[in-house]
Structures are given as structure tokens and as C-alpha cells.
């Protein structure tokens, strides 16, 4: 599977964008100032040589915030996406192989949960469990808890197609047990697919976290910086007064980083679709 993916230019291009932003999040914060330190002498300054992206309404270095925010957003995304993928593999991967009641139940449950409007549900959950000053881990877990149905559905459909392949039939005919087939035959063949489900779940989680932070429901903005808290427009963050005062430099960069990351994941995903679904390649 990996050798096919590596030959797809779309996949390579998308992966390069995603890796570049991950690298930015890892290396950036090492070289920048403390992202939360206020500086009363440099309040709400436009971009300059010293402050590349200007400063916030308390004089915070916004470039430092962008670096740290990218790192923290990626961390939240990794926890939430990992959680969603894990549950997705359990629900979507084991179900179809245990044909019968277990499969029916897990599939019906996934379909029921798919109908829930997830963002309103998350708003309720974070408002009630977080109580105004949630930790990054809590927010990430709640996002993971509400985003697994998509992962489960993707993995289920992939398992269903793999199940019909010849080598699985050979394994079954030679007397290998169902669970062992899933672990030794199906999962290794799905590794590339699962990784991409993880990356997409991660990107959705980052997008969701930023939306929650923007309405003041993300991790506590007084001690955490994420791309979302930088957009904290309705709460207390640096952009709350940015719009009327024309601080474009406070809210354009974090949104751009988010957009570029999401586009990277999208390109990567469509490259993958072409590999897994050869008929699309001709288009």
C-alpha cells in the first residue's frame, strides 16, 4: 500500500504541507519568546522587525503564540484523533468480522450516533464538564468522544472490501480463526488507510477545537495557547477587541495556518482516494 501511495504526486504534495506545519509546531516554540508574557510597552503593535506578527492587546508576541498555538493544536488533534481512530478501529474493524448480532449492533449504533449534531453536543459537553476552565486533555478527549463515528464508518467499509479478497478466503479455508485473520491479515493491509483516517480525524479535531475556543469553550486561555484561543473572539483573547480596532494581524495568521493544514490534509486524502479507488484516477 505504501509503495503505491508514495507514487501519487497529490499524496506527496499534501503530506509535504502537513509535515511542514508539524515541523513548524515542533521547532517554532524553541526559538520564540514566552507566548503568554504580557508586555505593557508594546500593546497592540502592528507587525515589525522585532515582533514579526505584531502584538496582542496585552503586548503578547503573536508570532510566539502562533508557534506555540500550532504545537498545542496539533497535540489536541493527536489526542482526539488517536482516540477517535482507536474507537473507530474497535467498532468498525471488529464488527464486520463477527458477522451477525455484534455487527448489526455496532453498525446500528454508529448510524444512530451519526445523526447527532456533534458541534451542539460538544458545546453542551464542554460547557458542563469543563466549567469554563477546561484542560487541553479534557477538551481533546471530549472531541475524540464525539468524532469516532466517521472513523468507524470509513474503517468498516474498508474492512468489508478487504474481507472479500482471495487471500482472506485462503486464510479462512486453511482454518485460521476470525480474530486472528483480523489481526494478522486485515489490519496490516489497512495500516496505511488507518493512518490516513487518523490524520483526517486529527485535522477535524483541530478545526473543532479552534471553533470551541473561539466561543470561549476551549482550553483555559489564561494558561494555554492554541490556534483557537488566538481566535478567541467572543471570550477574552487577543482578538476580542481586534476586529473593531482593525488588528488584522491578530486573527488572519492563525486562520491561515489552519486553512493551509486542512488543505494539505485534503490533498493528501484525495491522493489516497485515487490509490484505494482506481477508477477515480482516470478523472
Amino acid at each position: 500500500m505504501f509503495d503505491l501511495l508514495v507514487r501519487s504526486p497529490k499524496f506527496i504534495f499534501g503530506t509535504a504541507i502537513v509535515l511542514a506545519i508539524i515541523l513548524f509546531g515542533i521547532i517554532g516554540p524553541v526559538f520564540t519568546r514566552d507566548p503568554l508574557k504580557p508586555n505593557p510597552h508594546h500593546v497592540a503593535e502592528s507587525p515589525s522587525g522585532v515582533y514579526i506578527l505584531g502584538t496582542g492587546d496585552l503586548g503578547e508576541d503573536l508570532f510566539a503564540q502562533l508557534c506555540m498555538g500550532t504545537r498545542n493544536s496539533l497535540m489536541i488533534g493527536a489526542i482526539a484523533g488517536g482516540f477517535a481512530t482507536f474507537v473507530g478501529v474497535l467498532v468498525g474493524g471488529i464488527g464486520p468480522y463477527k458477522s451477525g448480532l455484534a455487527d448489526e449492533t455496532s453498525n446500528a449504533f454508529t448510524n444512530v450516533v451519526m445523526v447527532f449534531p456533534m458541534l451542539p453536543l460538544l458545546i453542551v459537553l464542554v460547557a458542563l464538564f469543563g466549567g469554563g476552565n477546561a484542560s487541553m486533555f479534557l477538551v481533546a478527549t471530549l472531541i475524540g468522544l464525539t468524532s469516532w463515528p466517521w472513523a468507524a464508518r470509513c474503517i468498516r467499509s474498508q474492512v468489508l472490501t478487504l474481507k472479500e479478497r482471495e487471500f482472506i478466503n485462503v486464510a479462512r479455508m486453511s482454518g485460521v480463526k476470525g480474530r486472528k485473520i483480523v489481526i494478522t491479515e486485515i489490519m496490516p493491509n489497512m495500516l496505511a488507510y488507518i493512518i490516513i483516517v487518523f490524520v483526517v480525524s486529527l485535522s477535524i479535531a483541530i478545526l473543532t477545537e479552534a471553533g470551541l475556543s473561539m466561543i470561549g469553550l476551549g482550553p483555559d486561555p489564561s494558561s494555554n495557547v492554541t490556534l483557537g484561543t488566538m481566535l478567541d473572539f467572543l471570550g477574552t483573547g487577543s482578538t476580542s477587541i481586534a476586529l473593531p480596532w482593525n488588528y488584522w494581524w491578530a486573527f488572519i495568521p492563525p486562520g491561515l495556518v489552519l486553512t493551509i493544514f486542512l488543505l494539505g490534509v485534503f490533498i493528501m486524502q484525495s491522493g489516497m482516494d485515487e490509490v484505494f479507488n482506481p477508477r477515480l484516477r482516470r478523472v
Binding site: 448510524n111 444512530v112 451519526m114 445523526v115 447527532f116 449534531p117 456533534m118 458541534l119 451542539p120 453536543l121 458545546i123 453542551v124 459537553l125 460547557a127 458542563l128 464538564f129 466549567g131 469554563g132 478545526l207 479552534a210 471553533g211 473561539m214 466561543i215 470561549g216 469553550l217 481566535l231 473572539f233 467572543l234 482578538t239 476586529l243 473593531p244 482593525n246 488584522w248 486573527f251 488572519i252 492563525p254 486562520g255 489552519l258 486553512t259 486542512l262 488543505l263 485534503f266 477508477r279 477515480l280 482516470r282 478523472v283
Partner: protein
């Protein structure tokens, strides 16, 4: 006489009805469970900070009795369902029934959701089908624009559009539903409509551009896929006119798009809530934001309940419409 429920379409409708009843039942159980699973006691959060002990204890007992929290879990569960069936969702912090507060604001939300859903669907699919048909540079440009529109964070786009079209170029008001000092009950419906219209512009545009982008990119891919399939190639060999080919491809490409309406509706409700918060449009989302700020738990749950009901009804209608459009389901015969 023939049994009307024996008709395959009636069976399909009943099956869907049952499914959505199950969804509603599970969701309502969540609504019962969530506040009871949360850390700490909601009652403690309602007591004003700084209340001293003897008063605090009696206030706590009083509030506990009022909300029925001193009863056993099973009694609470029965009460919960009885109240729901009576349409009683509890009282908000300002002692108004939650159901009234939320239902009052629901039309403002629906006025955004329904037009965006329908206009976005038709415009987006039209653009996507055209883009697939014309091919070349313009088609690519439309494709990238629609991908960009569908991938960028919608709330960020709302801020950008607010900055450009309300702050930099003051074409639209920066937020709200009516002008300041405008009191809707004192004016005629036409005046109310005309005053709300400019305020409606930006939230509508934001949601429309985002959803249209998603439909257009999907439809372009679907149409290209259909244009490449055997029956179109055969018809082309036979010398069918391009317009005819296009109409065949479009009709087959639109069907899978219809199945996307469900997911789109679910996302759109959530998006609308946040967009309302950004533009201070007076819908359910703004109620939720204010409820979160004042920790009004009944009201927060009430807004979720109402979005849940809207989503379930919407999904049911979409499924029925899809069943009606797909001849295989309508007649109950396999393709």
C-alpha cells in the same frame, strides 16, 4: 382491500420513522444522563458565590427539592419523561420556561438554516456540474476556489468577511438582528423585515459560500466520474448532443449528492449556531452562548434538545425525499 402498509414505499417510510424514533430516544437519554454525570453539582454552580454557610445550605436544599434532585434516580427518570411529554424543559435562570425561550429564537435560526441548505445545494451542484462540463482553466479555477471555500474554518471566514465587509468597507452592519433602538413589536412586519435584511446578509453569505463550496467540489468530481463511464461514452459514439449527455450525467451524479444532504444538515446546524454567535444574530446559537456565559444548564440542554429535534425531523424529510427520487426505493424493485 389492499393493506396500505404493504406498499414498499410505505414500508420504507415506516422503517425510517422507527430508526429516527430510536435516535430520539437515545439522544433524550443522553440529555438525562449528561448533567448527572458531570463533575460537581449543578446546584452548587447556581448559588451565587460568596453566600455564607447557613443560607447556602438552606438554599441548596431548597433548589435540590425544586429540581427534584432529592428523589431517587429512577423517580427522576420517570419525572424527566413526564415533563418532556408535557413540553416542560424546566426554567431558565431568569425564570422563563426553557421551551418558550428556545422556541422564540428557533425561527431566527431556521431562517438561516433552510435557505442556506436549499440555495447552497442547488447553486453548488449547478456550479459543480458546469465546472465538470466546461473543463479547462476556468473549471480548474472553480475547483480550487470551491475546495478552498469548503476547507477553510467557517468561523474564521466569518471573521474575515466581517472585517472586510463591515469594518473596512462598511457595507453591512457589524452584527445584531435589528438596528440599535429598533423595537420590532412597534413596527409593521414589512419594516421589521427591511430592518433585519442587512443584518441577515453577512451570516447568510458566510454560510452559503462555505456550503456551496462543498457541494460544488463534490458535484464536479461526481459529474466527471459519470461523464467517464461506459453509458456516456457509448451515447457519445452514437452521436448524442452534448447537452443531452450532460443531462444524463447530471441526473446520475446528483443522486449520491442527495445522500450528503443529511450530513450537511447536521454540520450546518452546528455551523449556524457559531455563526450566530459571531454576528450576534438572535437565534438558538446566541441563546446557547449567553446560557454558557451565565452557566444556565437547563437552557444549554434545551438548545441542544431543540437542535436535536430539528436535525431528526430534517434527516427524516431528506430520507423520504431521497426515497421518492430513487425509483428503486419508490417502487421497491431492485435496479
Amino acid at each position: 382491500m389492499k393493506n396500505p402498509f404493504a406498499h414498499p414505499f410505505a414500508k420504507f417510510v415506516l422503517k425510517k420513522l422507527f430508526f429516527y424514533l430510536v435516535v430520539t430516544f437515545i439522544a433524550l437519554n443522553f440529555i438525562f444522563l449528561i448533567p448527572r454525570l458531570m463533575p460537581g453539582n449543578p446546584i452548587d454552580q447556581m448559588i451565587p458565590p460568596g453566600t455564607t454557610d447557613p443560607g447556602r445550605k438552606s438554599l441548596r436544599a431548597e433548589l435540590g427539592k425544586y429540581f427534584g434532585l432529592n428523589k431517587s434516580r429512577s423517580e427522576q427518570y420517570v419525572d424527566f419523561w413526564l415533563n418532556l411529554l408535557r413540553g416542560n424543559l424546566g426554567l431558565s435562570m431568569d425564570f422563563r420556561p426553557v421551551a418558550t425561550v428556545v422556541m422564540e429564537k428557533l425561527p431566527y435560526t431556521m431562517v438561516l438554516v433552510v435557505p442556506v441548505l436549499l440555495v447552497g445545494f442547488f447553486v453548488g451542484n449547478w456550479i459543480g456540474a458546469r465546472a465538470a462540463y466546461i473543463k479547462g482553466k476556468l473549471s480548474e479555477a472553480i475547483y480550487f476556489a470551491s475546495i478552498f471555500a469548503s476547507q477553510m474554518p467557517f468561523y474564521w471566514f466569518a471573521m474575515v468577511i466581517l472585517f472586510l465587509l463591515a469594518v473596512k468597507l462598511p457595507i453591512f452592519p457589524t452584527g445584531g438582528t435589528f438596528s440599535p433602538l429598533f423595537i420590532p413589536p412597534l413596527h409593521s412586519p414589512v419594516e421589521v423585515f427591511l430592518d433585519a435584511l442587512p443584518h441577515y446578509g453577512l451570516p447568510f453569505l458566510t454560510l452559503l459560500i462555505i456550503t456551496t463550496g462543498g457541494w460544488a467540489s463534490g458535484m464536479r468530481a461526481m459529474t466527471l466520474y459519470e461523464l467517464d463511464s461506459g453509458y456516456i461514452l457509448y451515447a457519445r459514439q452514437l452521436g448524442f448532443r452534448k447537452k443531452k449527455l450532460m443531462s444524463y450525467a447530471r441526473r446520475n451524479a446528483i443522486l449520491p449528492q442527495f445522500t450528503g444532504l443529511n450530513v450537511n444538515l447536521n454540520n450546518l446546524i452546528g455551523m449556524t449556531m457559531i455563526i450566530e454567535m459571531v454576528f450576534r444574530w438572535d437565534g438558538v446559537g446566541l441563546v446557547a452562548l449567553n446560557a454558557i456565559k451565565s452557566r444556565d444548564y437547563f437552557l444549554i440542554l434545551g438548545t441542544f434538545l431543540i437542535t436535536m429535534v430539528v436535525v431528526v425531523i430534517g434527516n427524516f424529510l431528506v430520507d423520504i425525499a431521497y426515497g421518492f427520487l430513487d425509483p428503486r426505493i419508490r417502487t421497491g424493485r431492485e435496479g
